[in-house]
């Protein structure tokens, strides 16, 4: 149990809804070769992968099927695992150290 902290999972925790679904689909496209895990807690959904996850504005926009600015991710992003870096057209979740 005290080993729970030894993990490298990063990614957003989204409120349930259309954006959460689009973010999950975008995560699969934007992070080729990586296994994306989804944990559904009804009110919120953990979307995670190991070490690093990129989410691109245009991919989310495509999955959502309507105009989307990357800063609108915040509307439903209630938390996230790892650290975050916000950029003009993408968001990156990461850890600097791999445990």
């Amino acid at each position: 149990m005290s080993q729970l902290n030894v993990n490298n999972m990063v990614g957003p925790i989204m409120r349930q809804g259309a954006l959460a679904k689009a973010v999950f689909e975008a995560a699969e496209v934007d992070n080729p070769g990586k296994k994306i895990l989804v944990e559904d807690k009804v009110a919120y959904v953990r979307i995670q992968t190991e070490d690093e996850m990129i989410l691109r504005q245009e991919t989310i926009e495509e999955m959502l099927g309507k105009p989307f600015r990357i800063n609108q991710l915040e509307v439903d992003m209630a938390s996230f695992a790892g650290r975050i870096e916000t950029n003009a057209d993408h968001v990156r979740f990461y850890y600097t150290k791999h445990l």
Binding site: L4, M9, I13, K41, V42, Y44, A88
Partner: protein, 500 residues
């Protein structure tokens, strides 16, 4: 005319430090408000906020969030959640609003202090948005419960609790004052935003949102998870301070502030969030146990991030992991036992089915905490209600302001950590609470716990009636068992069945 993308101008636009000519730097940024720690101004300018948002973007996004939360409320206004929900769930709402809503305004003032006195321009910018976030949280969490006030006076405590000397309000104020209301810009960044908001607020605003969704209370679920989207941005104010402090030889100071804030948060959550998740929320709606939520948010997520930003796990980490197993069960018994002194109706959560769930989630519960509920159950069934109420005062910790308690039964290990300071004997529930006091005795030494006040004769007459008056609890507001003791008769029937 083409407009620049945010990232093309953001860094320049928020680089707002200058060299003061008419005043000294320490007059512009008084160290006691800025939390300078002797680090020169230019070193703070390396602060790089990871979550960048401009003001126009902020307004647009916040408008979208509010439109969502308020429209869910409007759409479900006729769902009669107040009339149809389990009384235990109604108690969750009352406890939450009273403990949280008004403290959001304190948080706003603390964000404002960072927005004015933070020496890092990026911190000031982020905190300006954080200040407005917290005003939103204060207003929305007073507005939502207000519709219930006409039906139930306990909902009035959403606004009233923090103006009273009710014991749980004293404990909450003592903790929130310590980790942000009475701290400087650097301390607020580390204690409020980093330790409390990237850690514990996830428990109350997302863990509880999951339970609320299960309970069918979509209004509350949507409200608190929407609040947490603001937190996920402004909670990032503290992180970038850490590399600056570490690079300038202040790692130990940063670590100490985080350790104090995390421990103090844990203690308050053990009395507030623990009981509502494991006892008040109807059994069929409990998504995870309090312990499981603590593991998810604090151990798996927060502690992992703590190590990544260059700090260490707190020195009391093993004790925290141990207390996650049991502390909130004892707190729950205390709250239920002293139930006239709270502004909600505690749900015992001790029916046969609930006890089976507790035993599964916390093996050994029946042989320890369960034995206390056995006695309470027998007294209720016998009609001996007097013995289901306390006759004495608890020993209250002079740091967390909560009753000193531990696991009952053969493994009884309740302990008091006495400490003499300037001729006064202080009592602490744990080594970490005593350690917090020792870090800065002058900060805490003058405070009197509710029991100290009683013994000093400040509460008159010295009986329950006097105590309720002192705490501001009027008839119609004082707490009683949420389910009118029906669970006790069910538990008694079950035992008779087993015995025959």
């Amino acid at each position: 005319m083409a407009t620049l993308e945010r990232m093309d101008w953001y860094d320049i636009a928020r680089t707002t430090n200058w060299t003061p000519k008419y005043v000294q730097e320490d007059e512009l940024f008084p160290p006691e408000l800025s939390g300078t720690m002797g680090i020169p101004l230019e070193k703070w300018e390396s602060y790089d906020e990871p979550f960048k948002q401009s003001y126009p973007e902020y307004v647009k996004v916040q408008r979208e969030k509010d439109a969502g939360a308020y429209s869910v409320k409007a759409a479900l206004e006729r769902s009669r959640i107040y009339e149809t929900a389990d009384p235990g769930w109604i108690s969750v709402l009352k406890a939450h609003y009273g403990a949280i809503a008004r403290e959001e305004y304190h948080a706003s003032q603390s964000e404002a202090r960072m927005a004015r006195f933070g020496k890092a321009p990026g911190q000031r910018n982020m905190a300006t948005l954080g200040m407005m976030d917290e005003i939103r949280h204060g207003q929305i969490q007073l507005f939502f419960p207000h519709e219930h006030v006409s039906k139930d006076r306990q909902f009035d405590w959403a606004h009233k609790a923090m103006d009273t000397n009710e014991w749980a309000a004293i404990a909450a104020r003592h903790m929130f004052d310590d980790i942000f209301a009475a701290r400087n810009a650097t301390e607020i960044g580390l204690m409020l935003t980093f330790a409390f908001e990237t850690g514990f607020t996830n428990m109350q605003f997302l863990g509880l949102a999951a339970d609320a969704a299960e309970a069918g209370d979509w209004t509350f679920s949507s409200l608190i998870s929407s609040i947490q989207t603001d937190e996920s941005r402004h909670a990032q104010i503290g992180g970038p301070l850490i590399p600056i402090l570490v690079a300038n030889g202040k790692k130990a100071e940063a670590q100490k502030l985080v350790d104090i804030a995390l421990w103090r948060s844990w203690k308050l959550f053990s009395v507030l969030t623990g009981p509502i998740m494991d006892y008040y929320t109807p059994l069929e709606d409990r998504k995870l146990s309090f312990k499981e939520f603590m593991h998810e948010w604090i151990v798996t997520q927060f502690e992992r991030a703590l190590i990544d930003v260059g700090l260490e796990r707190p020195w009391y980490w093993d004790q925290l992991l141990d207390e996650i197993e049991w502390q909130h069960h004892g707190m729950h018994i205390g709250v239920w036992f002293w139930r006239p002194t709270v502004w909600w109706n505690p749900a015992a959560g001790a029916s046969p089915e609930e006890r089976a769930w507790l035993e599964e989630k916390y093996p050994g519960w029946n042989a320890t905490f369960g034995t206390v509920w056995d006695v309470i159950t027998e007294n209720i069934v016998k009609g001996d209600m007097a013995h289901t109420y306390p006759e004495t005062l608890p020993v209250v910790c002079n740091m967390c302001q909560l009753p000193v308690n531990a696991t009952p039964g053969p493994a009884w290990r309740v302990r008091d950590m006495p400490h003499m300071h300037n001729g006064r004997l202080y009592h602490f529930c744990s080594e970490p609470c005593k350690w917090v006091f020792e870090q800065e005795p002058s900060r805490y030494e003058g405070h009197l716990s509710i029991v100290d006040r009683f013994l000093a004769g400040q509460i008159q007459p010295m009986d329950l009636g006097g105590a309720l008056k002192y705490m501001g609890l009027a008839p119609g507001e004082i707490g009683d068992d949420a389910h009118n003791y029906a669970w006790a008769h069910a538990a008694h029937g079950e035992r008779l069945k087993k015995a025959s």
